[in-house]
């Protein structure tokens, strides 16, 4: 049986992939501090990705890859 933890991590990874490009800002040209808002999204999203990866590495490293866990 697939554990709830595994499902949650799989969903998080998919979410990270899906919004690495902010599709909801497509053709949006607003600026903040002289730079496009979508660029700030990118910076924030990379920080979120690093945080999620770090949390995964600390809590559930080995999931999906090692056999029998």
């Amino acid at each position: 049986m697939v554990s709830r933890i595994a499902l949650a991590w799989a969903a998080s990874f998919l979410l990270l992939l899906a919004f690495a490009v902010p599709w909801f800002l497509w053709r949006n040209d607003a600026l903040f501090a002289g730079l496009p808002v979508w660029l700030w999204w990118h910076v924030a999203w990379m920080l979120v990705t690093a945080a999620v990866f770090a949390a995964f590495a600390r809590r559930d490293w080995g999931l999906f890859v090692e056999v029998g866990r």
């Binding site: 496009p36 990379m46 770090a54 590495a57 890859v65 090692e66």
Partner: protein
Amino acid sequence: MTLSSVALEVGVVVAYMLVALAVGLVAYRVTDRSAEDYYLADRGLGTGVLLFTTFATLLSAFTFFAGPNIAYASGPEWILVMGLMDGVLFGLLWYFLGYRQWLLGQRKGYVTLGEMLGDRFGSRTLRGLVAAVSIFWLFPYVMLQQIGAGEALVGLTGGAVPYWAGAGLITLFMVVYVGISGMRGVAWTDTLQGVFMLGITWAAFLWVATEIAGSSGGLAGALPAEFRALGGGVYSPQWMLSQAVGIAVGVTMFPQVNQRFFVADSERTLKRTFAIWPLLVVLLFVPAFLMGAWANGVGIPLPEGENIVPVLLAEYTPGWFAALVVAGALAAMMSSSDSMLLSGSSYFTRDLYRPFVNADASSRREDVLGRVGVAVFAIAAFGGSLLRPGSLLEVGSTAFGGFAQLAPPVALAMYWRHTTKAGMFAGILGTQGFYLATVFGPTVTLGGVPIIASSYFGWFSQVVGLVLGLVLTVGVSAITTPDTTEDPETYVDALRAD
């Protein structure tokens, strides 16, 4: 360009070579004469070194030259492609393919990808095929690096050094240096150079940003209207996704990157690298590519055959600083090539020479052969860079797609117990044939639907090839039975959690 800045650029390049050689000599002294130590630094790289050697190997020249050129021509959206490609996707592949490969390497002692697959399927032919396919794409790619470095040296010296001498000098340097140092030395210089690159990129970025912010239009004025809006121009969703997926997957099968999956010293190193990766991506690409986009906005013309970052820096910073960046980029190019030479040589000696020519070669002999292999590989590529056959150049420029085709069969072999040898051959040969046909063959359509084409409704052929690879490998595996030589348990046992 003034004489003093030429002298400075050449000085930085020469200084880089001397430092690299010194590092190489130290590495030679601490490396014992075995193939595992020469190719993989005895699987002993820590977090900082592994992080930067992978990063420098992967992205060096692209960061300073080709990437900002794209941002200059088409807009800064390429930053998002990099974020998806290297920040998220490569990070996940690092875990799913890389960590699994690392575990298998630790327990079974594999040095190359071909060796790992050959063992699982009990097939010398499969081992040789993976190596041959890899070398087929790698060789012309190394050639392109040599051409680039040779031309950069010509530009650097204002033509005082002719092209053949520039490319020859760089080849000679790399042969001596890689031949001596092996993976440990290569990784150490990559680290020095990665730190240098990151520092100088930020110095350049802050310098240019301060100048532009103080001008009448400010930072906002330096972004053309079309560049502010996300998408548009070449940037369609299919195009961005095709680039990100094709390159990220291709990178994992590039020998010099794939081999780095084997070299971490501990699980802790892999964990840290995994988490830091997205931070490095944002730190390096945002400043580098924004400079390209700004150069367009402030109306700096890009002369034919030049790169935008040096041109921009010449406008806003003193000559010595621009010279430092250019020389750094040239060093970066060399540091990518040296890793490729080392890996190319290991694929050749371990997966082609040993299994097919001399099975009884001792470890000592293999070590010598590996170093000779580096020289042969580099000199042959140098020959190619002088003759520049058109078809080889095209193979080099489409190498990422070619490597990407290996990924679906390899991933299935590692994760799906029912993968058979026949399935592997079908997946590898089928997709390589398909991809080569889309690169070199005529376009074939059937009732408006592309059959053989470079683009499928906006999706690149290399992405279509990934799906084909999955279908072929799974399909043929499903209708064939494993040989008696095949042993799925080798992997399962090695991967069991402690």
